[in-house]
Amino acid sequence: MSLQFAPILEQWPYLLGGAWLSLQIAVLAFACGLLIGLFCASILRYGPPSMRRLVAAYVTFATNTPQLVQIFFLFFGLPELGLQLSPFAAVLIGATFNAGAYLCEIQRAGFASVSPTELEAAEVLGFSRPQIVRYVIFPHVIRAMFPALSNQFILMTLGTSMASIFGVEELTARTANLGAETYLSVEAFIVAAVMYVVMTLLATSGLAAYGRMVQKRP
């Protein structure tokens, strides 16, 4: 078996466009998931018991079922109930639904890491409410959550590859197309694997740099 990479590498703008779309899906789902997760984590902490149970049920359900089947349900099941989603919308909603649950767990643990004695100390020192959030809670939470958040983002970037199953033209789908056109599927998927590695390495180092910046600012 001899590998021929040239015909695949010639198509790099096509693949790079796919990688860009993968990254966009991941960032969009992560940003929406972060908001949902923040909302859910606040409910778990401060909400009434009935709401808390509802959120807990959502998190348990979403984290114990495959994202792929959730998207299958959204894409094939919902039209029967009268809601037709585009492939991109189904994938994005599925990814966000999943991300919200995982990010809720992460943020809940992050908020739990602030000890009440520190809040009392800040109050004694005459910090205002926004000051407490900015100078006491935020540095703690960000430090506790950052590794988990960045890990979750990497997992989500890898997870976007399942969008290809629904016909979203991201990196995996474009790789499969190229492989089918050139009969060089092995080479195409090796190139895609390398691109995913580079993409996630860039994301990790970017996030780590951002994390250092956020934590250093007084």
Partner: protein, 224 residues
């Protein structure tokens, strides 16, 4: 599309049951094999002098790379590679190999973290008592490390049950594929995929509850 009025027949339920067991077998066999290989890789990485540096570098690179490639891409890569080698393997075997490749990388990282959680002093003390490297590992380090290794390893296994859904893409007849077949037969997609979601939940939820309980117990035992 036929009207979505049917419910599951006896054979549909049989298909779902078989898919359920296939999913469980994929995750279990793949992760157990990955656990063994990952643990071996982690132990090789602890032998600084005996394992040649290129081998250790290759192991580190392997763990780094395979945790950064989507499972679907690994699956396709293995699928097409085996096809181009004209090896006559079932899709189940292809999925199993892919799961093995990925789980080895993840579990080796988990095992390495566990082994490194044992303080350096323990190694030095064992060496002072004239333990060999293997004796140190077997009698000193691993008995302390497994408490740290077990919870995340179990968590990975439970997580991977869900990822095996992607094996439906290469045609393994597991739970998700069973759902696709039933959907194509004309049953209501909402009913079929709702059931599939429920079945995955029934598989994953008790295991993750069990994992949390074990984790709590081990953490309590460690803090004594």
């Amino acid at each position: 599309m036929t009207p979505a009025g049917h419910f599951f027949s006896y054979y549909d339920i049989l298909l779902l049951g078989r898919g359920f067991l296939t999913t469980l077998a994929l995750a279990l066999i793949g992760c157990l094999a990955g656990c063994a290989a990952g643990f071996a890789a982690a132990i090789l990485r602890t032998t600084h002098s005996r394992t040649p540096a290129p081998v250790r570098a290759a192991l580190i690179a392997y763990c780094m790379l395979f945790r950064r490639v989507p499972f679907l891409v690994t699956l396709m890569l293995v699928f097409f590679a085996i096809q181009s080698m004209n090896a006559n393997l079932s899709t189940f075997a292809v999925a199993l190999i892919s799961i093995f490749l990925i789980s080895t990388a993840y579990l080796s990282e988990i095992a390495r973290g566990g082994l490194e959680s044992v303080h350096e002093n323990q190694w030095q003390a064992a060496r002072a008592m004239n333990f060999t490297h293997w004796q140190t590992l077997r009698l000193v380090v691993v008995p302390q490390a497994w408490r740290v290794i077990l919870p995340p390893a179990f968590g990975f296994f439970v997580m991977f049950i869900k990822d095996t859904a992607l094996a439906s893409q290469i045609g393994v007849m597991e739970l998700t594929s069973a759902g696709k077949v039933l959907g194509n037969k004309g049953l209501s997609a909402a009913l079929v995929y709702g059931t599939i979601l429920l079945l995955y939940f029934l598989m994953s939820y008790p295991l993750s509850r069990f994992g949390k309980r074990v984790e709590g117990k081990l953490a309590a035992a460690r803090n004594h």
